[in-house]
């Protein structure tokens, strides 16, 4: 069941590759604008790198979240998903997993490459990669709650940002904190552990909250 929903969403995303690519391009361009705008001041670039990359990842995931349920809502397949004989939070968890693979994993993979522009050491790039790998599931999970709540509303795109971005702050602080710690030569482990704990908590609560919100939105 979970397998089918993930497979379905991955196949749909593959047939609409342009949507997926636009998120990645947005991320790459936003991150690249900073070194171009600031110029070759290596010390400054190194110190802003963690925040810039993480903020760009948050904004890029905002772009794709609007589509998480909206497409299924428009063609009526979401109603059918609500009426499947499985717990709804499993359906939501499947869709969130697919969203993470489609929209977040490409960012995680490309982040070390764009990080090179900020003169980060190899070790720090590695920490950047791990922090995004642990942190991006939080973005998909919490984002799903916002996407479910704003489903079918006019101007839902702006509303979802207002609703969800504040909830991303802990992920931003600990994610960027891990990279910062690595830059100044400290161990990033405590930040990563906290980030992991936050991911587990959102995994427990977000699918459940999102499915409750979906039932309300479709009533």
């Amino acid at each position: 069941m979970l397998r089918w929903i993930v497979w379905r969403d991955l196949m749909l995303a593959w047939r609409r590759r342009s949507d997926m690519l636009s998120t990645v391009f947005f991320f790459v361009i936003v991150v690249s604008l900073f070194p171009l705008g600031i110029g070759p001041e290596l010390q400054l670039l190194r110190s802003i790198a963690p925040g810039v990359v993480w903020v760009a990842a948050l904004l890029a995931s905002m772009l794709s979240l609007g589509r998480l349920f909206a497409n299924d809502y428009q063609d009526g397949t979401l109603e059918q998903l609500l009426l499947t004989p499985q717990p709804l939070y499993l359906v939501v968890a499947g869709k969130v997993l697919a969203h993470w693979i489609i929209a977040e994993v490409p960012l995680v993979l490309i982040a070390p490459l764009v990080g090179v522009q900020f003169d980060l050491s190899r070790e720090t790039l590695w920490v950047l990669f791990v922090s995004l790998l642990v942190g991006t599931p939080i973005l998909s999970l919490i984002g799903a709650v916002g996407a479910a709540l704003t489903l079918g509303l006019r101007g839902g795109g702006v509303l979802i940002s207002i609703l969800i971005l504040p909830l991303y702050i802990p992920a931003l602080i600990f994610g960027a904190g891990a990279v910062e710690a690595s830059i100044i030569g400290m161990t990033p482990a405590p930040h990563l552990y906290l980030l992991g704990a936050f991911a587990i908590v959102s995994l427990l609560f977000a699918p459940w909250a999102a499915s409750a919100a979906l039932r309300i939105s479709l009533e």
């Binding site: 089918w4 196949m11 609409r16 428009q74 109603e79 059918q80 609500l82 009426l83």
Partner: protein, 196 residues
């Protein structure tokens, strides 16, 4: 209740196996709202829906396993082919359909040769047929069909009628909201007319 308006009240009926209910009424009289309450998508403002003498709210997913609801919007994905649409929607409902069964169902719905075409190339009526093909492969007992005859040609309407007749002969129940007269030769025919 929809907004502040009371659509219907004092509605009380029970249906046994092999019953067909034609739900009629002018636009806005609450046909869709009633069907959505019956399938569990919406909660009634007052009252309860029982399935085999248990409240559907407490049955939850077990109830969904016994019901097929087809709404206004066909629930067909543009990017997927007719065949993929049918197989995936059934797999999500816990019924894995074999390749041959799915192809046979699509053939019976008059979609032979178009199984692997993405649904966005199909006409409105053909997409409706893809959605209706689900009725051939699901094994649910209660069918709730909301205006499924829109944009179907005469042949397809006849096909839907024979599908419902077969379903009633198997002991199923069907509630169909429609503006067209539908006379069935099987089961117990009933009519529920909503007024504004």
């Amino acid at each position: 209740m929809r907004g502040d308006r009371r659509l219907f009240s004092g509605l009380d009926f029970s249906l046994s196996s092999g019953t067909f209910v034609q739900l009629t009424g002018p636009n806005g009289s609450g046909k869709t709202s009633l069907l959505r309450i019956l399938c569990g998508l919406s909660a009634p403002a007052e009252g309860k829906v029982y399935w085999e003498s248990a409240d559907i709210r407490s049955l939850g997913e077990d109830y969904f396993a016994a019901v097929t609801y087809l709404g206004h919007r066909p629930g067909v994905k543009d990017e997927l082919s007719a065949f993929e649409n049918l197989r995936i929607s059934n797999a999500l409902n816990g019924v894995e359909v074999s390749r041959d069964d799915a192809l046979n169902a699509l053939e019976r719905m008059g979609l032979a040769g178009r199984e692997s075409l993405p649904a966005r190339f199909l006409s409105e009526g053909q997409r409706r047929r893809v959605a209706l093909a689900r009725l051939l492969v699901c094994n649910t007992r209660l069918w709730l069909l909301d205006e499924v005859m829109t944009s179907l040609d005469k042949g397809a309407v006849g096909l839907v009628r024979s599908l419902i007749e077969e379903h009633l002969n198997r002991g199923g129940i069907a509630i169909v909201a429609t503006h067209q007269e539908l006379e069935l030769s099987a089961g117990v025919n009933q009519r529920l007319e909503l007024t504004t």
